[in-house]
């Protein structure tokens, strides 16, 4: 069967998809997709949200069946009727949202679904031995007895990979694997993937981050609107070309930004300390000032207190001590701060977590367009909502922010990540606030929308707003900010100009030069 046996291993084909069609009702999610993934390579699949990458991989992994077309694994045509078939064919998948039982140990999670009998003892011993072998072979150290919820996400992801390997995966599909990782964790993941590749595994990497594609893949296929528009050797392409292929037009990757013109201080934080629900201090004695007409960026690895800082300023989280002044007036940070009142005082907030805070996914688009501003008289007729006014207003914002589809009655969950984020931005920016808090503005957002969102943030600055930007994407911080504060372990460990090179900022983010700062 294997016609390519005589040739070099690079031309050995691990997976071939021919003419895959898949539609959901009227939506054609995949159209005549042809894809060849060579054995022992890392193959990137890139495309904007909604381009059909996830659908295609779901077909390969057996979640969906294609309407037309054929799948070949190792040059044999196969019918993948479910994930169990895919696993049997040596295909493993690491989902974007981990499929782990949080309160089980690593070992138990890996064993899950492969217990071999009612009495677990024999199975456990076997899994433990196999786990040790896999860890040694691929350099994937994990404490087998650690409980999942105690582990950082990077390690949890490693467990997912181990799970797939334990089930005998030769071909590993990773769906947006770096979405939840810190830069260091992402680097580590890439080293692991390289290691797996060198052991002969085939890896399919789904992402919308061009940098990752360039850094790690051998070949890259670009999807756009359900079609496979191009496949390139990574070495022979460029970020610009890929971006253009993805979006279908030229994309400005560099942010165009004039000189900042800072005015008076709009937001002032003094000695703020915030504890989380377990009583651990997450923000330690932080002070900062944001002036109108400037963007203050806070860089840091996720989990170093940026989220808590943002929430405390927005009045959502209680601070233990310290003061926050908005336009020179204190806000009650000790718990009496009222997010609704702060909005009226000119504080807008684009939260880090748009799925749980910024939006109610089960609401219609227009209902989300008033979240937090629903007590504005212009949306009300007495105690009743003025539905017509709300929908007209939402439709207008859809137009201004190019929210697609421009259907204000569509459920918010059905919008792509980028469009969801635009719904939040439109709502917060169109209120003409004095201060705007922006958390992770482009997390899970496609390239086309990133450009748009960055432009809007800079427009806010140029309109004289004070912008406080928190992002774990160092590139984003450097591109947008006028000043950069680095946060580590709840403290501000230094202020740098955005031109500071990435390595130096990275060291600060890792807390390395903390002592040097203290001396200054």
């Amino acid at each position: 069967m294997r016609s390519g046996r005589g040739r070099s291993y690079m031309s050995d084909i691990a997976i071939e998809l021919k003419g895959i069609d898949k539609s959901f009702g009227l939506v054609q999610a995949n159209r005549d997709i042809n894809l060849v993934v060579r054995k022992g390579t890392i193959h990137g699949i890139i495309g904007e949200n909604g381009a059909g990458k996830s659908t295609l991989m779901s077909i390969l992994y057996g979640f969906y069946q294609a309407d037309n077309g054929a799948i070949f694994v190792d040059n044999n045509e196969v019918e993948i009727s479910g994930p169990s078939v895919a696993i049997a064919k040596g295909i493993g998948m690491v989902h974007q949202h981990f499929m782990l039982v949080e309160n089980f140990s690593v070992l138990e999670n890996i064993m899950l679904g492969a217990e071999e009998g009612q009495i677990l003892n024999a199975g456990i011993a076997k899994v433990r031995a196999e786990l040790l072998r896999l860890e040694a072979e691929y350099g994937l150290e994990v404490d087998a007895d650690a409980i999942i919820e105690d582990l950082p996400v990077g390690i949890q992801q490693r467990v997912e990979i181990l799970k797939a390997l334990y089930r005998g995966a030769e071909i590993l599909i990773l769906d947006e694997p770096t979405g939840v990782l810190t830069p260091a964790e992402a680097d580590h993941l890439f080293r692991i993937l390289d290691q797996l590749k060198s052991q002969g595994k085939t890896i399919i990497l789904i992402t919308h981050k061009l940098r990752e594609i360039m850094a790690i893949t051998d070949e890259v296929s670009v999807m756009r609107r359900g079609e496979m528009v191009a496949t390139r050797k990574t070495a022979e392409t460029s970020v610009e070309e890929l971006a253009e292929l993805m979006v279908g037009r030229r994309v400005l990757l560099q942010v165009d930004k004039g000189v900042a013109n800072p005015g008076k201080v709009r937001l002032e934080v003094e000695n703020l300390t915030v504890r989380d629900s377990r009583g651990v201090a997450m923000v330690k004695n932080v002070s900062l000032k944001v002036r109108e007409g400037e963007i203050l960026g806070i860089a840091g690895v996720a989990g170093n207190g940026q989220s808590e800082l943002l929430q405390a300023i927005a009045g959502i989280r209680k601070a233990e001590k310290g003061r926050v002044l908005l336009n020179g007036e204190p806000i009650g940070v000790a718990g009496e701060a009222d997010p609704a009142a702060l909005r009226r005082r000119g504080l807008a907030h684009v939260p880090e977590d748009r799925h749980h805070m910024g939006l109610v996914l089960k609401f219609e688009e227009n209902e989300n367009a008033i979240l937090g501003y629903h007590d504005d008289p212009k949306y009300l007729k007495g105690m009743f909502l003025d539905i017509d006014a709300i929908r007209a207003d939402a439709a207008e914002k859809c137009r201004q922010y190019d929210i697609r589809p421009p259907d204000v009655r569509l459920k918010t969950a059905n919008f792509s990540g980028g469009n969801q984020q635009k719904i939040v931005l439109a709502r917060e920016m169109e209120r003409d606030p004095d201060v705007i808090l922006v958390g992770q503005p482009t997390r899970g957002v496609d390239v086309g929308a990133i450009e748009f969102i960055h432009k809007r943030i800079i427009e806010m600055r140029d309109a004289g707003k004070a912008v406080l930007l928190v992002s774990v994407e160092l590139d984003e911080i450097r591109a947008l900010s006028d000043r950069v504060l680095v946060m580590f372990d709840g403290r501000i460990v230094g202020e740098r100009s955005p031109e500071t090179d990435e390595g130096a900022l990275g060291l600060l983010m890792a807390g390395v030069s903390e002592t040097e700062e203290a001396v200054q």
Partner: protein
Amino acid sequence: MSAPYAKLPAWVDFGLIPLINLIVAFLVAGLVVLLVGENPIRAAGLLVEGAFGYGEGIGFTLYYATNFIFTGLAVAIAFHCGLFNIGGEGQAYVGGLGVALPCLWFDTILPWYLTFPLVILGSMFFGALWALIPGYLQAKRGSHVVITTIMFNFIASSLMVYLLVDVLKPRGSMSPETRTFEEGGQLPRLDWLLEIFGLNIGGAPFNLSFLLALVASFVVWLIVWRTRLGYEIRTRGFSPSAARYAGMKEARIIIVTMMLSGALAGMMAINPIMGEQYRMQLDFVGGAGFVGIAVALMGRSHPAGIIPAAILFGMLYQGGAEISFEMPQISRDMIVIIQGLVILFAGAMEHMFRPAIASFFIAFGGRSGVPAAPASE
């Protein structure tokens, strides 16, 4: 990555799936009937005939449905806020005080149409009061409302026994109930409404509270989908963190919603007390508070679904009584089994047939897609 997610057409979601669940429930119930040696087809005939076959049957069906609309709405509005109010039974029971007291005080002085508004306010007040305490405990202390409302059902039960036996019972009477109200405490029957359709209501206690239930349904729809309060309730129900982000007062929303829920449950007491018995008896609620949970589940917490679901359960109550008349093998308890099966299939196992139906619609070119990919491997 966004999986291609599209929901099923509304008529499938709200029409076909509940219907299939119902049919399966009846098929299984039929097996149970077969098991006790009766003919299930005849039983089904009796059920429908008894509930809808003649004027009096319809009157009874709608009388029972009235109870279930109120309790169903009560559960539904709490659902919208993410609260599971199991205390409808107790809230309706205590709500009875708000019906009985105005009737006892004013039935000889005021005509019924003046007592009625007092009774409405009274029942709402007492029902809301009984839900206020669990609501407060949930909002301020984090005590789970499921636990507290269940406990409050028991407290209500004991409290009402005490009041009926020691306080409200007329001197010299042996039965734990209030005296019978005079004309000012009696709601008119809706015989004229059925006469429009050429039906004779006979002795059925179908009364004005049915129209009140319809008005309440409309008001609930209005509150939930058209007011600022309803917007806050739904936001909190879908996503407490989004509600906090938006600056909504979570504790206030919880307490207000529980009070609304209790008020609706309390209004249920009007139907049996002022509409049928003209007195308050022990255990007049008779499980309607719990049936309300099933009604709300089946009606998808929407008034337009709750009304037909309530009528369905009214049919089971009335037609079930008819079956136990005609088929001595089938006792009242059998009817409860059938009701239980309906609750099981329509409520608890609501999603059992959903994946199959969804894939059917995809296979045959239905206009939309499937729910997101299954989360298992």
